[in-house]
């Protein structure tokens, strides 16, 4: 059984069909990349998997370990192991990153029937992961993403991901806004999480990220559908010739 199985998914936003019969299977241990032009529906797909309200699912289904994901609340999905690193992480003034991380981690552990982390245990883990991502301690005392640079926000997403240890990581343009060094740090943070029981979906416009995180499968998405799937060499092909050839394919 695939970890994630999306069957013929149709999704509308504000009376417009954005996903138009999308199929996708992701097995545990695999890293999939999704590439596609602006507006093709990549973020919409990631939001629908995470459970963001405001989308109308008109047809199709999403199964996660065989369970109907669409029937679950976003927090249940998180507790089951779905994690989305947002293309545009939001700022939450008044909630310190540290308090936020603790609330998130403990909520998930509680939902899974695990014990909450003790304060020293929690602090130790956060320090360790933050250190490996070059996130200074004082950033953790600030409001979530408040005043963070674009790159810092992205690193904060990876910090959260590393702490909650999800089974399915969806990374929506994690490379946008990162400088070359930050890209390397973030990529190695992601690579460190590659594991046989864990799958990743990496949404990106640039092959460069895929040089660091080598995918098992590359999908080309256009107009709300997967138009072509292939190996990592598909990313190179795309870079050379663009998306035009896939607009009317399949």
């Amino acid at each position: 059984m695939a970890l994630l199985e999306i069957r013929h998914l149709h999704v509308g936003v504000e009376d417009r069909e954005v996903l138009r019969g999308l199929d996708l299977n992701v097995n545990a241990g695999e890293v999939h990349a999704i590439m596609g032009p602006n507006g093709s529906g990549k973020s919409t797909l990631s939001h629908v998997i995470a459970g963001k309200p405001g989308y109308e699912i008109t047809r199709g289904q999403i199964l996660f370990r065989g369970e109907n994901l669409l029937r679950m609340e976003p927090n249940e999905r998180a507790a089951k192991g779905v994690f989305l690193a947002f293309q545009y992480p939001v700022e939450i003034p008044g909630v310190t990153t540290m308090n936020f991380l603790r609330a998130a981690l403990n909520a998930q552990r509680k939902a899974r029937g695990q014990q909450e982390f003790s304060t020293p245990e929690f602090l130790k883990r956060v320090r360790q992961v933050a250190g490996s991502l070059n996130i200074p301690q004082d950033m953790l005392k600030r409001g979530v993403n408040v005043g963070f640079s674009g790159g810092e926000k992205k690193r904060n997403e990876i910090l959260q991901m590393a702490l909650v240890e999800p089974s399915l990581c969806i990374l929506d343009e994690i490379d946008s806004g990162l400088d070359i060094d930050a890209l390397r740090i973030v990529a190695s943070g992601i690579n460190a999480l590659r594991a046989p029981e864990r799958a990743m979906i990496i949404i990106t416009h640039y092959r460069r990220l895929l040089d660091h995180i080598v995918p098992d499968v590359v999908h080309v998405m256009s107009k709300g559908r997967i138009m072509k799937s292939g190996g990592k060499e598909l990313a190179l092909e795309l870079e050379a010739s663009g998306y035009a050839q896939f607009e009317h394919a399949a």
């Binding site: 976003p74 992480p89 939450i92 008044g94 909630v95 936020f100 998130a104």
Partner: protein, 440 residues
Amino acid sequence: MKQVFPKADAERAIGNVFAAARGRLPGAGPVAKIRARAFEVYERTGLPHRRMEDWKYTDLRALIGEVLPLAPRPDAEALVRAKVSAEQVSGDQAVKLVLVDGIFAPELSDLGRLENEVVVRSLREVLENSATGAMAGLVLSTTSDPAISLNAAMATDGLVITVADGNAVKCPIQIVHVATGLSVSTFTRSYLQLGKGAHAAIVETFVPAGGASGYQANDAIIVLVGDEASLSHIRVAADASDAVNISSAIIAVGARAKLDLFSMTCSGSISRYQGFITLAGEGTKLSANGVNLIRDKLHADTTIVVDHAVPHCTSREKFRAVVDDCGRSVFQGRIVVRPAARKTDATLTTRALLLSDQAEADNKPELEILADDVTCGHGATSGALDDTLVFYLRARGLSETDAQSLLIKAFLGELIEEITSENLRDFVTAQAEHWLQAGR
């Protein structure tokens, strides 16, 4: 439905309440004269109503109609119930002074833990021993506001607290108002004088005892903050959801002093907190913060008037409302800068968080600037919780209610963070938390 009395009937009713209470009110001779005069002033307007500009959003004549009979002296059974509630709201380390149904209850208070620098007497004792009426005149002072006049006429008891010059009081002094009755009214009046260079923290809390319902509490406090003194004044009103609470604070602050005021209303069918703060000495810093937490059909009004009478003072006024269901929050903030008050720096910001479509928040900021060379500003916002923030938190594992609670706490956080004492901050946080839990 509450009955709305035409003015004549309402006046007759309150006249009877005053006449009936008279024999029980402490203080004879000059004190009785002060009360009679205050009552006359009250009678000219009667219950505040919407045609009075300061009360236009909180029309007591329409909302409560009449003043209920004065609560009887609490009996032993009432004191037992009051004790339970008083203990539940006690701030850590605070020295409690408990008023039950408008009467000081020394047996429930921590008089033994009072620090030497603090002198506490009951209002009753002060009024009964005010032969010349001089002290009574000070403690029972009034303004043109009818609720304050009525309070001076009817006050049964309260606390008169003085802190001598130069003393720093370590533990907060907490006045706990407990109501135990059904459909009765209470009138309390307290007085706090902080000497030159003194430091203190005072907490006022309003709570019902088990079984209390439909009561009306009218409280007033006169506060004098001496030169170079510093006072943290926290107030939390958590009355029964069918009770009325009208509280007034008249505060005068001397020179180079510091006053931090924080008032939070979390329950009560009809609540009005009105603070009148006069900055009377140069170089003083005021922070006046208010919070209304409102749900169901409750109505809470926080009205703060800051009067800059002298130059070189700073005032920061911040107000936050969280309104759910059909609740209604009113905030009126007025800053007056007198002609002499050059170099005044005053700001007023108000934000309302509306959690339902029927929730209502009225904001009335007013700047009355009569001096030149001042920095004054105000800002107001109002809106719902940001869905994208709620979703972000849910996507990280928080339930919808936990996500909302976290965001509401963050919304209030900035004001609560300003409370410098960690104990008092925890106390206020716990009260806000309690309000959030109650809505689940």
